[in-house]
C-alpha cells in the first residue's frame, strides 16, 4: 500500500537524530583512540599504544575493581531490599499508597544533590549517622577511610535505586493471579514457602530484566563518587567513568580517554549480549 510510505516520514527524524549524534561521535572516538592527541598539541598516529598503556596502567585495573565491587554490591543490596519491600507492600493496607509514593522519591532526586547530601549525612564528627551510632559507642570514618568511603557510595546508590527495584517487583507480584495463592494456601501456611516456591519463580523473568538494567545503569556511576569525594580518599573511589573523565578533561589526553571509553563500551556490550536473547523476547 502506497499510503504506508508515511511510516518512514514518521520514523526517520528520530532515527536520523540519534544516529547522527551517536554514530559520528563514536566513529570519532574510535579514530582518536589510535592517536596521541593532547589539546594544543597536534595528533600523531600511535597505533594500539593507547590501549596497551591503558591495560598496563595501575589506575585502570584499580578503577575496574572499584567500579565492579561498588556496582555489584549495590545491585545485590538493591534487589534484595527491593524484593523484601515489595513482598511487604504486596498486601493492600490502608495508607500504603501514600507510603509507596514517598518511598519512590529518592529515585527522582538529583544524584549530584544526593552526593552533597551524603557529605552532610556521613559527616564524621557530628553527622546524624555517626551521632546515632555513638549511642552504641561506634565511630565510623565514613569519608576518610578508603573502605568506608566505598560503603558510603554503595549506601547512597542503594538509597536512590532500591525504590526502582521495589516498584518493578511490586508490579510483578501484583501480576501473579490470586488463584495461584489461594491454591497454595490450601497446602501450606508458611509465608516463606509461598515466597520461595510460588512468588519467586514467577518473578524470575522480571528479576532478569532488573538485574540487566541495574548492572548496565550501574556502570554509568559518576555523579555520586564525583560529588561525594571526587574519587578520594586517594583514588579509592575513583570509578571507571571518573577515570575517563579525568583523563579527558583534566589531563586533556583525548587519545587515552577514547581508548578507555571504548574498553568501557566493550564491557557494557558484553553484558547486553548476555541478556540480549531475553530482551529481544520482551520487545517482540
Amino acid at each position: 500500500m502506497k499510503r504506508q510510505q508515511i511510516k518512514f516520514v514518521f520514523l526517520l527524524p528520530a532515527v536520523i537524530w540519534v544516529l547522527a549524534f551517536t554514530i559520528f561521535p563514536l566513529a570519532y572516538a574510535i579514530r582518536l583512540s589510535f592517536f596521541s592527541y593532547h589539546l594544543g598539541r597536534g595528533e600523531t598516529f600511535v597505533g594500539g599504544r593507547n590501549f596497551v598503556q591503558a591495560f598496563t596502567y595501575p589506575r585502570f585495573w584499580g578503577s575496574i575493581r572499584i567500579t565492579f565491587s561498588i556496582v555489584l554490591i549495590a545491585v545485590v543490596l538493591e534487589i534484595v531490599l527491593g524484593l523484601l519491600f515489595a513482598w511487604h507492600f504486596n498486601r493492600e493496607m490502608r495508607g500504603d499508597k501514600v507510603f509507596r509514593a514517598l518511598i519512590t522519591l529518592p529515585l527522582f532526586a538529583t544524584p549530584v544533590a544526593v552526593g552533597y547530601l551524603g557529605i552532610t549525612l556521613f559527616y564524621e564528627t557530628s553527622g546524624p549517622i555517626n551521632m546515632f551510632l555513638s549511642f552504641f559507642h561506634i565511630h565510623i570514618p565514613w569519608l576518610s577511610h578508603p573502605f568506608w568511603a566505598k560503603i558510603s557510595i554503595i549506601l547512597l546508590d542503594t538509597w536512590i535505586w532500591t525504590p526502582f527495584c521495589f516498584l518493578v517487583f511490586l508490579s510483578g507480584f501484583r501480576a501473579i493471579s490470586e488463584e495461584i495463592y489461594e491454591a497454595a494456601y490450601l497446602d501450606t501456611n508458611s509465608e516463606l514457602q509461598i515466597f520461595r516456591y510460588i512468588s519467586l519463580p514467577l518473578l524470575l523473568p522480571i528479576l532478569g530484566i532488573v538485574i540487566a538494567l541495574r548492572l548496565v545503569e550501574g556502570l554509568k556511576i559518576f555523579d555520586l563518587p564525583y560529588t561525594l569525594l571526587l574519587g578520594g580518599p586517594g583514588t579509592s573511589t575513583e570509578v571507571y567513568p571518573l577515570l575517563v573523565y579525568r583523563t579527558a578533561l583534566k589531563n586533556f589526553d583525548f587519545g587515552s580517554a577514547s581508548a578507555l571509553s571504548l574498553v568501557l563500551l566493550g564491557i557494557v556490550m558484553s553484558i547486553v549480549i548476555i541478556f540480549f536473547k531475553q530482551l529481544r523476547r520482551v520487545y517482540e
Binding site: F10, A14, V15, W17, Y28, A29, L102, L107, F108, T110
Partner: protein, 279 residues
C-alpha cells in the same frame, strides 16, 4: 491473600514506619540543614524549634544569588526545550513503530537499536562531544546541552511511547482508515487523544532525566550555560562545604523532579523499565 490477625497488622505497620523513617531521613536532614544558622549545622541538632530556631536566611541568600538564579533558569530552559523536542520527534517515531510493520529491518530490531542507545554509558561520548562542540564554538552554550540531552533521552521516549500506542486497539485505527482518514489524521485525532496520559507521564520522566543530567553539563559548560547540578558540584571547590547552603541547593535542585514524580506514579514502572514490565 489471607486476612491478617491484629498482631500481624501492627507488625506490618511498624515495619512500614521503620522503612519510611530510614528512607525519608536524608530528605528531612536536607530540610533541617537548610533552615539552620551556619554554626548550628555543625552542632548536629535534630529537631527545629526545640533545639534551634529555624531561619530562612539561607534561602533568601541563595535565591538572591545571581548565579543560582541563572542556573535555575538555564536548567528550566534546557529541560523544557529538550523535552519538547523529544516528545515531538519521539511520539511520531513511536506511533510509526506501533502501527506499521517494517520489513527490511524488523520493528523489533529498530526497538532494540533504540534500547542499545539508552544502555551506552554517557562518559564514552564526552571526548568526541567536547571536541565537536569546541570546533562548532558551542562550548558553554545551551544549544549544546539541549542537543546532547535530546540525543540521549529520545530513545527512551520512543520505547515507552510505543508501548503506550500499542495499547490502542487496532480496530480503532482500522475503522478510521475505512472512513478515509489519512495516517496523519489517525495520529492526530485517534492516537494522540487516547495517549495523552502516557504522553504527559513520559514528558515528566524525560524532564526529570534532563534536569538531573550531570556529566555532559559538567564537561560542556563552565560559565554562562551552567545548570543547577553543576552549581552544586562546584560549590565545594570555591567555598568549602557549607552545609547550610548545601541544604538549600539540594532542595532547590531536587524539588522539581521529586514533585513531578509524585504526579507520574502510575507510569513510573513502565517508564523506568523501558516498557519491559507492565506497570
Amino acid at each position: 491473600m489471607r486476612k491478617l490477625t491484629s498482631l500481624q497488622k501492627s507488625r506490618h505497620h511498624l515495619t512500614t514506619a521503620i522503612i519510611l523513617v530510614i528512607f525519608c531521613f536524608p530528605l528531612y536532614w536536607a530540610i533541617i540543614n537548610s533552615i539552620k544558622m551556619p554554626l548550628e549545622t555543625f552542632a548536629g541538632s535534630w529537631v527545629p524549634f526545640l533545639q534551634f530556631k529555624p531561619t530562612l536566611v539561607n534561602w533568601a541568600k541563595e535565591l538572591g544569588d545571581q548565579s543560582t538564579r541563572r542556573a535555575l533558569a538555564n536548567s528550566t530552559i534546557v529541560s523544557l526545550c529538550s523535552t519538547g523536542i523529544v516528545l515531538f520527534i519521539g511520539t511520531l517515531a513511536a506511533f510509526s513503530l506501533a502501527v506499521f510493520k517494517f520489513e527490511k529491518l524488523k520493528n523489533q530490531d529498530i526497538i532494540i537499536w533504540f534500547l542499545s542507545q539508552r544502555v551506552m554509558p554517557p562518559v564514552i561520548f564526552i571526548v568526541p562531544f567536547f571536541l565537536l562542540m569546541r570546533s562548532f564554538k558551542l562550548i558553554d552554550s545551551l544549544y549544546a546541552l539541549i542537543l546532547v540531552n535530546v540525543t540521549f533521552v529520545l530513545p527512551f521516549a520512543v520505547i515507552i511511547m510505543r508501548e503506550i500506542f500499542r495499547g490502542i486497539p487496532q480496530e480503532l485505527t482500522d475503522a478510521a482508515l475505512v472512513d478515509g482518514a489519512s495516517y496523519w489524521q489517525i495520529f492526530r485525532k485517534v492516537a494522540l487523544p487516547l495517549a495523552t496520559g502516557g504522553l504527559v507521564a513520559t514528558g515528566i520522566i524525560c524532564l526529570a532525566i534532563v534536569w538531573n543530567e550531570f556529566i555532559f553539563a559538567l564537561s560542556l559548560s563552565y560559565d554562562r550555560a551552567v545548570v543547577m547540578p553543576v552549581v552544586i558540584a562546584g560549590s565545594e571547590h570555591t567555598r568549602g562545604v557549607e552545609f547550610w547552603y548545601v541544604g538549600v541547593r539540594v532542595l532547590l535542585t531536587m524539588s522539581l523532579p521529586v514533585v513531578v514524580a509524585l504526579f507520574a506514579q502510575r507510569y513510573i514502572v513502565k517508564g523506568l523499565t523501558l516498557g519491559a514490565v507492565k506497570g
